[in-house]
Symmetry: none
Subunit: 249 residues, 2 copies
DNA sequence: GAAATTCCCGCACAAAAACGCACAATCACG
DNA sequence: CGTGATTGTGCGTTTTTGTGCGGGAATTTC
């Protein structure tokens, strides 16, 4: 088994169960605990997991208190949110994924807006619920504790049978060659279904995620209609995407 | 169980109940009180909790008001919750409605419990998600903003197609003549479906709602298997229900 | 003020991590 | 090719960390 392969497996396990024990991982894939520890170290340095004595935890675990970094990218995300909101008009049916950028958008929705929002993200739903005129449809199924969204065949089937006007995706990684990619298998399934069920696909992505990629492919750039970042639309780093036929905001 | 994990659990409990006892925590997670004390120390040093003799307090608790009334009914609900939990065992499939009594139950679930909880209540789902070993299934559909649960035909269809071991209903009104009743049409639909889909039906009700009724009928007493209140099982006011064939706890 | 808790301290012990080293596989490159 | 450097992995040994336990000090409680 290759190192990268093994690390991908570990990452998947962490995202799935929110915690892993070095001992059980070692038994799982038949390598020494030492190797596992080294893998966890690397993943921790890349910020993919949180290393603790005895194993590692998913990032979502202690995400509750991450004030410094949070506030920093907050204003960027607000900028993105405002651009995204300009695409919404009354009466629309809107599919959204989860993620902090989507949350920021949900918080910034103008109170007089009347639309229907559909999502499987618990956090996003909570935000939508606070708005007076928004109809909220919750996609049901098993809840993935790591990503705090509903995942599974029921959720996907439900999404497939709707036809939304527009779909907002919080994007973890976007890249000219790989399109949009992610690192959680179940989330990827959801996002794919959302893309297929929407007339327009909008990617929200902070600039530092532009030109990066993750292990699992979601879709090619050709499926994306609009890309939103906190940068001005004519920023040179976004030019290639515009040339690929994507409307850049 | 990892140290960080345990501390996260403790922190959650503190924020939820505003206080924790080292002794009960120790019993909950099966570690020595010494370990709990050390955890509380660390959390206190990080400013997450306030350490006091015998346990710890939530930070919000120290300064803010002390509404005796609230704490009072809190303890009633805790009593109900504990009785309800005694009915749950590992591996069960459990349907629950929403309501503050159900929430209190969700908060008090022992951390080592492994079971599957199914609900359409956003607040309840949030609580279930915090527990390490609980699988959570979310019933999806339109969200009713008044009751904060998913309502509608999809949700009902989904409930109908499952067969749960047990169903816990937060009860708004129960009465010998009218059975259980409620005042929200959509919630009633949901509860009816839950009752039909469960092998056992348990009503959680604080005593002041006993012998009251609301406009909309949910079901007759005959459908109810167990009634839980904060009163002792042999309290005279509960006698008629026992005589009606309901097991009273 | 006496009984019962709870806390603190030191110790023991197991589990995990860190470190240094050996060794195999792979890569780099003239 | 071949040879030397790099990388990835496993294995002892030593350190560190996490946890429980006993006994005595401190505290709550009545």
């Amino acid at each position: 088994m290759l190192k990268k392969e093994r690390q991908a497996y570990i990452l998947h396990q962490v995202n799935l169960h929110n915690k892993v024990l070095s001992s059980s991982l070692s038994a799982d894939i038949n390598v020494s605990e030492d190797t596992i520890r080294r893998d966890l170290m690397e993943l921790a340095e890349e910020g993919k997991v949180i290393k603790v004595h005895g194993g590692a935890l998913s990032h979502s675990f202690s995400q509750v208190h991450f004030p410094a970094n949070e506030v920093y990218s907050q204003s960027q995300k607000k900028k993105i949110a405002n651009k995204a909101i300009s695409l919404i008009s009354n009466g629309m049916f809107i599919l959204t994924s989860g993620g902090t950028t989507i949350l920021e958008m949900a918080r910034s929705l103008p109170p007089q807006l009347k639309a229907t929002f559909i999502s499987g993200s618990i956090a996003a739903i909570l935000e939508y619920m606070h708005h007076p005129n928004i109809e909220v449809i919750l996609i049901g199924d098993r809840i993935s504790k790591s990503s705090k969204i509903t995942v599974g065949p029921e959720a996907i089937a439900k999404i497939r049978q709707m036809k939304a006007d527009i779909c907002f995706l919080g994007t973890n990684a976007i890249d000219l060659n790989h399109g949009i990619t992610d690192n959680d298998w179940e989330v990827v399934q959801l996002k794919r279904a959302m893309i297929e069920s929407s007339q327009k696909v909008v990617c929200l992505s902070i600039a530092e995620k532009i030109n990066t990629f993750q292990p699992i492919h979601i879709c090619d750039l050709s499926k994306i209609d609009i890309l939103i970042t906190e940068l001005p639309a004519d920023d040179p780093s976004l030019l290639p995407y515009a040339e690929a036929g994507i409307r850049v905001l």
